[in-house]
């Protein structure tokens, strides 16, 4: 039952073949059996999930009209505020904090009757590409437990790959949905910036952060996308326009006559051989399905990583200032006679991890007077140039494509002490965030040299998210036809359960 797609589960729930309580319990059992090895979850809300499932079953029994994913369970990245449920962002500084309010994404999930199983592990405050920066220990890749599941949303991607949940919520600031999807053989979508409300998403970098759906199939991601997207008056940057027709696009999977642009700068040197092979193969399959493959150039992408590591840390240095021990979370050094300043300092020293501190310091420096123009100012100009590159490219192609990341999953600990090598992982995903456009990663097969999943990235223009779903669905269908089974069937069996 747990290996089905969310759409299949939804169909069985609708027909009465299975109850949400049974389905939820099956996932809770799976979590109990495999999560000691995977460590995808930071908090499992057994009672809450079962109560929510029972409420959905009761509504269904009464014949109430329910939304398409009602009763299907989901794993929530721990960066999303959920009323009454611990929300740590993978940080010690928020240990014990239970939000008194629901994020808009959570409110939308609840409105759609989607059952929230618990909170998933992540790099602290979403800063990282391996989930090793979690203050609560790393998550392990179900394909190889000695490897990373990607980051920052490694908990959500691992939960999907380990069949602990059929759906998950991620957030993507520089690739934190797509890169974990790529290295775990799952699907992850970063919608257009402003497509999904950020209200209740604990901010890392406000101008780049975007929540989105994670799933095992393109259609499942589309169903979840529609459930969480839409204008939110509580988020001033939320787009007030109809949600793109992503479910229809995922169902059609029609790419006939579509122009698919291969970004010259996001391929070649520095990309693992197996990654390149799977990418070329996917292009062939799309061409066979009727798409026209063209090459496009984005000359300013080479500055994207550098600009990202000025903008994101700058915004984070300000966003994370609120963690000061005054109103919530950790408080250290509050002894008789201690000043507010010393409590703030001690709390931040103890509460934040190394990577978070590194970025706060970097961002504080980049925003300092005298340096602002050279760093933050220049980075914003690069951002404009990247947007222009995309605009130009989209005059030649309907969507753009690239490998999601340069390599397959690396070993836990391999890059932990080399931040630059770690940052390079996001080289192909970052431009999407800089321009605020949509991006998807879906599995394109396994690399020959290590047998690990490879991700294929599709990028679509602002509020044209349906295009990446159409292309993703077409590629997914072609690959399934080629392999005969879903890619996750090739993964090692965990915990003995099927």
């Amino acid at each position: 039952m747990i290996r089905a797609t969310a759409a299949e589960m939804a169909a069985k729930l609708a027909s009465g073949e299975v109850t949400s309580v049974a389905l939820t319990q099956a996932h809770l059992d799976r979590i109990a059996s495999v999560d000691t090895d995977v460590h995808a979850f930071l908090h499992v809300d057994t009672e809450g999930a079962l109560a929510q499932a029972a409420a959905i079953d009761a509504k269904r029994a009464k014949g109430e009209k329910l939304s398409s994913l009602a009763g299907v369970p989901l794993a929530l990245k721990d960066v999303m505020a959920q009323k009454g449920i611990p929300t740590t962002c993978g940080s010690k500084i928020l240990e014990g904090w239970r939000p008194p309010y629901d994020s808009t994404v959570v409110a939308n999930l609840k409105k759609n009757g989607i059952v929230i199983l618990g909170k998933t592990n992540m790099d602290e405050f979403a800063m990282g590409s391996s989930t090793e920066n979690s203050a609560y220990g790393p998550t392990h890749n179900p394909w190889d437990l000695t490897r990373i599941p990607g980051g920052s949303g490694g908990g959500s991607s691992a939960a999907l790959a380990a069949f602990e949940a059929p759906l998950a919520i991620g957030t993507d600031t520089g690739g934190s949905i797509r890169q974990p999807a790529a290295v775990t053989g799952t699907v992850g979508v970063k919608p257009t910036y402003g497509g999904v409300s950020r209200y209740g998403l604990v901010a890392f970098s406000s101008s780049l952060d975007q929540a989105g759906p994670c799933a095992r199939t393109v259609l499942d991601a589309a169903l979840l996308h529609e459930a969480i997207a839409g204008h939110d008056p509580k988020d001033a940057t939320s787009i007030n326009a109809p949600v793109p027709q992503v479910v229809n696009a995922a169902k059609s999977g029609d790419v006939k006559g579509m122009k698919i642009g291969v970004v010259k700068e996001l391929n070649g040197d520095g990309y693992q051989a197996g990654v390149r092979a799977r990418f070329e193969e996917s292009l062939e399959l799309l061409a066979n399905a009727g798409a026209e493959i063209v090459e496009v150039s984005a000359p300013n992408f080479e500055y994207a990583l550098a600009a990202y590591y000025l903008i994101a840390p700058s915004e984070c240095s300000s966003n994370l200032a609120r963690f000061d021990a005054m109103r919530y979370g950790l408080r250290v050094g509050d002894i008789d006679g201690a000043s507010a300043e010393s409590v703030m300092n001690l709390t931040r020293e103890v509460g934040f991890g190394k990577e978070v501190k590194r970025r706060i310091i970097l961002g504080t420096y980049a925003l300092s007077s005298g340096y602002y123009d050279a760093y933050y100012g220049s980075a914003q100009k690069v951002r404009t140039l990247i947007t222009q590159d995309f605009n130009n490219a989209f005059t030649k192609a309907d969507v753009l494509v690239s490998p999601t990341c340069p390599t397959t999953a690396f070993k836990i600990g391999e890059k932990a002490n080399d931040p630059l090598a770690m940052y390079l992982n996001d080289i192909a995903t970052i431009p999407v965030n800089m321009a605020g456009i949509g991006g998807m990663s879906l599995p394109s097969g396994l690399a020959d040299e290590d047998g690990l999943p490879v991700g294929f990235q599709i990028m679509s223009p602002v509020m044209k998210d349906e295009r990446m779903y159409a292309v993703g669905a077409a590629l997914e269908a072609a690959l399934l036809a080629k392999w005969g089974v879903p890619i996750l069937d090739k993964a090692p069996v965990l915990g003995g359960a099927k």
């Binding site: 929300t87 901010a203 000061d324 507010a340």
Partner: protein, 499 residues
């Protein structure tokens, strides 16, 4: 070596700069829906947004933008077609996000001016105070430092935080430097803040209560030798909570600076806190090293781009400038400047105007509000505006007196009744049975009685000494318990005595 003010201005020229913070009177806060009512229980007007809970986001209060544009228009500013919010980053416990959402290099209103008039040795003189910018920001919470000698955070035993004020919309109005005011700098500063307060009150965008902090002034003062064009080091005096204090603070700082400069010492660039009791300032935070606020555009908000047609619509609705309006009233009513000032100081000008607009004679309306009603307000320790008497009531009372249905003395009883909540003037008159005695028979009886009692005085009047009639009229009024119309009494009395 203590200097007199005259000695200071004989040698130095003061340069002024004024920063005024105004709390807008919107119903909700700048970036969330919380109430803004003053004086609520601590921390009851808060939500995830103004407490800066993780994940919460700001959304701009459109009403605050409208009020700010109105202020900009009333101060003759240009309204920027595109402006942005920025984050001002610094740590302080009463600032929930540890950054303040403000505006930095792209404020919403720029380049305006306010003309103020003050009395000088050569008569009334106008000074133009140029406004550099008007921008929006949010207020911080309030800290109460308990224990310790100074009430400041250093040395306190503990501090209490109230976030009700956090996120209240603030507008900051910054002047350019105001040169060439000479010895009138303190008066110009006061006149500017006073004019600003009137303009803001006229716009209805703020309570402008200095004592409650809804209008706060920081006065920047520096001195330079007369004839020099090099600016001196300035101090920034905060906590100036009344118009009088603005004047005192500027004067005090001028003297303090001059004493330092005369001794060959330097003025420290710092904030100073004004002390109401002594009129002096004490040293605050040093500004010798410019604090780095790491401003950058607020990424959680979109730029403010007011529609030009909307701005024009707002411009059309800006009321006449209060000082001009006042001049017009003064001429129309033919009131001496002193009386005008008395009405302004007592905060009754608007009420008097309303009363006059309802048909009352300006002199009568003024004397009721400024006299009897002010007295009753004082007795009750209340503001005139808080009494239950309205311009309509006063206009009605003035009309009743004119028609001879009330005497001044009876009218005072009616005023008292209205304030006591007994109803409208007509209702008070009927409930209390107040009426003028205009039964000539009853009056004649009283006149005859008084003339008999004071035969000597009556004789004087009979012989043509009319001033003596006053005493008799008074006695008749007393006899009739004040319910007689004094004019009618006089008429009958003089007739009775053959005059």
């Amino acid at each position: 070596m203590s200097l007199t003010y005259d000695e200071v201005v004989a040698k130095y020229e003061p340069v002024l700069g004024l920063e005024v913070h105004v709390e807008l009177n919107t119903n909700s806060k700048m970036f969330c829906g919380c109430s803004t009512i003053f004086g609520a229980e601590p921390n009851t007007q808060t939500c995830p947004v103004c407490l800066a809970l993780p994940g919460a986001l700001p959304v701009v209060n459109e009403k605050a933008i409208e009020s700010t544009i109105k202020i900009g228009l009333a101060l003759n500013c240009s309204i920027a077609p595109f402006s942005r919010f920025a984050r001002k980053n610094y740590f302080y416990p009463d600032m929930p996000k540890n950054f303040q959402i403000s505006q930095y290099d792209e404020p919403i209103c720029v380049d305006g001016y306010v003309d103020v008039e003050i009395e000088t040795d050569e008569g009334p003189k106008q000074f133009r105070v140029e406004v550099e910018r008007v921008h929006m920001e949010e207020d911080t919470g309030k800290s109460l430092h308990v224990g310790g000698a100074t009430g400041r955070i250093h040395g306190a035993d503990y501090s209490l935080l109230d976030y009700n004020r956090a996120g209240i919309p603030l507008v900051e109005i910054v002047t350019k430097i105001v040169p060439a005011t000479g010895k009138y700098a303190p008066e110009v500063a006061k006149a500017y803040v006073s004019e600003l307060r009137d303009i803001l009150r006229g716009l209805g965008v703020s309570d402008v209560k200095m004592e409650q902090g809804s209008l706060r002034c920081d006065a920047n003062v520096s001195l330079r030798l007369i004839g020099s064009d090099v600016l001196g080091t300035r101090s920034e005096t905060k906590n100036v909570n009344s118009l009088r204090s603005v004047e005192r603070a500027v004067r005090g700082e001028m003297i303090r600076h001059a004493e330092l400069l005369n001794k060959g010492e330097r003025v420290v660039q710092e904030t100073r806190h004004f002390q109401e009791d002594t009129g002096l300032t004490r040293s605050g935070r040093s500004k010798e090293q410019a604090e780095d606020y790491r401003y950058f555009p607020e990424p959680d908000l979109v730029p403010v781009a007011p529609d030009a047609a909307w701005v024009e619509e707002l411009r059309a609705g800006i009321p006449e400038r209060p000082s001009l309006h006042r001049k017009r009233l003064q001429e129309a009513w033919n009131v001496p400047a002193k009386e005008m000032e008395a009405m302004i100081n007592a905060d009754v000008l608007g009420i008097v105007e309303a009363t006059v607009n309802l048909g009352a004679d300006p002199t009568k309306a003024r004397s009721w509000w400024l006299g009897e009603i002010s007295r009753l307000a004082n007795e009750r320790n209340a503001a005139i505006a808080d009494l239950s008497i309205t311009p309509t009531d006063v206009a009605e009372i003035v009309a009743l007196v004119e028609k001879g249905e009330l005497t001044d003395k009876l009218a005072r009883q009616v005023v008292e009744g209205v304030i006591a909540g007994e109803g409208t003037p007509a209702e008070v008159v009927s409930k209390r049975g107040i009426k003028v005695v205009n039964d000539d028979g009853a009056l004649m009886a009283a006149i005859e009685k008084v003339c008999a009692e004071q035969a000597e005085t009556a004789e004087k009047v009979r012989n043509g000494h009319l001033p003596a009639a006053g005493a008799l009229i008074g006695a008749v009024m007393k006899e009739t318990k004040g319910q007689a119309d004094a004019a009618r009494v006089r008429e009958l009395l003089l007739g009775h005595l053959g005059q």
